[in-house]
């Protein structure tokens, strides 16, 4: 089973991870300074994630607030089995889901998509390899939320697959297939319409 605490995180060793877990315990005990420290450590990561879920910056700021208020209240239930950042991202996701109330965050349409054998390279990737950065960026913004979210967690937050599974509340295999399908969806958006089969 993948360990959920990666040693390379932020240049902190095991001591850093343990220190953060101790911070959460202090939050649970009611220490405001500890929550302030957690905010300082993770506000960028959480905010960037929230911006993937809603482009509205004002709403993202409110959700950021909600996330840390919820972290204050729920610190007593944190058991230290996952990294603190993963825990915070999970809270942020729930807050966003409550606020946005759309089906898109929980949509699981992966089963409907045809699945290739898991590991073989996708010949369609040549389209992606040749696209310009600007085109790629634009296409990424237009991806459905379900793919944008997992790609952001993988490459912006740089979570491991196991951590992503924890934040999203899905099995590990689903994380991998969602990444795969996200790449395919991206490629579809870049392919000129006439060439699609």
């Amino acid at each position: 089973m993948d360990s959920l605490v990666s040693e390379r995180r932020c240049g902190m060793g095991e001591g850093g991870a343990a220190g953060e877990i101790a911070l959460v315990a202090q939050v649970a005990a009611g220490e405001r300074l500890a929550l302030a420290a957690l905010y300082t450590l993770h506000h960028q990561a959480v905010f960037r994630y929230l911006l993937q879920l809603t482009p509205d910056r004002g709403l993202a700021e409110e959700l950021l607030q909600d996330t840390f208020v919820a972290a204050w209240r729920g610190a007593g239930r944190f058991e230290g089995r996952s990294a603190v950042k993963t825990w915070l991202l999970g809270i942020a996701r729930r807050q966003a889901h409550n606020a946005l109330r759309g089906p898109s965050l929980l949509l699981d349409g992966d089963a409907a998509l045809a699945s290739q054998p898991a590991t073989d390279p996708d010949p369609g990737d040549v389209v992606l390899a040749q696209a310009e950065q600007a085109q790629l960026a634009a296409a990424l913004k237009r991806l459905p939320l379900i793919y944008r979210e997992v790609l952001a967690l993988a490459f912006i937050q740089e979570l491991s697959s196991a951590e992503m599974a924890a934040v999203l509340g899905i099995p590990l295999g689903t994380v991998k297939s969602r990444l795969r399908n996200g790449k395919r969806a991206l490629r579809d958006r870049l392919t000129p319409r006439e060439e699609l089969p």
């Binding site: 993948d2 360990s3 990666s6 390379r8 405001r32 929550l35 302030a36 905010y39 300082t40 506000h43 960028q44 959480v46 905010f47 960037r48 911006l51 700021e61 950021l64 607030q65 840390f68 208020v69 204050w72 209240r73 898991a118 590991t119 073989d120 390279p121 996708d122 990737d125 040549v126 992606l128 390899a129 696209a131 950065q133 790629l136 960026a137 990424l140 913004k141 790609l151 952001a152 993988a154 490459f155 912006i156 740089e158 979570l159 491991s160 697959s161 951590e163 991998k176 990444l179 795969r180 790449k183 991206l186």
Partner: protein
């Protein structure tokens, strides 16, 4: 390791995203590297993922979250403004919490309550063993034991008796819970001592245990409930004084033959109606405990 030509390692497509973000464990990382060295198709896929990652990261570079100085005051304001929602515990956790409350209350009940009860019971025991005549035993048990428990109940809860009341009131445990815990403790303690006493005084084969117990059980329940309620309504001294006065009206006529106005003896029996009345008074006390105005 085999010396035949190794089978082509399986494609690593599913691991590439993690490989690029450096979240694979060392074994898997080596595995991916070895494969990439020999598989052009997977190399191309790796390149694709890297471009996706780069596109994502450049678009994120300009994002800055609200600084701590901006956001933290808003967070504190929110936390202060909204009372925490009640936490619903699962039954097992609730029992465990109840157990901890009882233990904590055991420490908070004033030491004198335990000590006084024990001394009083001991005094009764000594008197009964050495000084009382057989027919006086009934009277002693029936009168002394309820009074001892009622005294404990009077001093169980309340600002005059409770050196730790501020701590009690500062916890999330409601007054009702505290009172319930303490009464449970006191009842268990006094009842235990009373039964022990009765067993010691009953015949060597335990005959008459039932009869002796019946002499004090009902009166103990009723008088203690009255005392507890009185303590909540008017303070422990008033409650205790009232209990003593009530009891004297029973005691004096027996001793001096004088006739005093008093509650009929039927009130002080052990039977279901009396026990029900005691229970009802206790519930009243519980209800009142929460509504009691706090001392200034």
């Amino acid at each position: 390791m085999s010396h035949e030509a190794p089978a082509a390692p399986p494609h690593v497509g599913d691991l590439l995203a993690a490989y690029i973000s450096n979240t694979l464990d060392p074994v898997q990382t080596r595995q991916v590297r070895r494969h990439l060295a020999v598989c052009g198709a997977c190399q191309a896929e790796e390149e694709t993922w890297r471009r996706i990652a780069a596109a994502l990261q450049t678009s994120e570079a300009a994002v800055t979250a609200p600084s701590p100085t901006t956001m933290l005051p808003r967070i504190w304001a929110r936390i202060d403004a909204e009372p925490a929602p009640p936490i619903r515990l699962p039954p097992a956790a609730r029992l465990a919490l109840g157990g901890r409350i009882v233990l904590a209350q055991a420490r908070l009940i004033h030491r004198s309550v335990w000590l006084a009860s024990a001394c009083a019971f001991a005094a009764v025991l000594i008197y009964a063993l050495f000084a009382a005549r057989r027919q006086e035993l009934d009277t002693v048990l029936g009168l002394a034991l309820p009074l001892i428990t009622a005294a404990g109940a009077a001093f169980l809860y309340g600002p005059e008796a409770d050196p730790a009341l501020e701590i009690t009131q500062a916890t999330p445990v409601p007054a009702r819970g505290v009172l319930l815990a303490r009464c449970g403790l006191l009842v268990a303690y006094d009842l235990g001592l009373a039964l022990l006493l009765t067993a010691l005084l009953a015949g060597p084969a335990g005959q008459g245990l039932d009869r002796l117990t019946a002499l004090w059980l009902g009166p103990m329940a009723l008088l203690s409930a009255i005392s507890l309620l009185g303590s909540l309504l008017a303070g422990p001294l008033v409650a205790f004084g009232g209990a003593v006065a009530l009891w004297l009206t029973r005691l004096l006529p027996l001793v001096s033959g004088a006739s005093l106005p008093r509650a009929p003896d039927g009130w002080w029996q052990t039977n279901p109606p009396i026990l029900l009345v005691a229970a009802a008074l206790f519930l009243l006390a519980l209800l009142y405990a929460d509504r009691r105005p706090l001392p200034a």
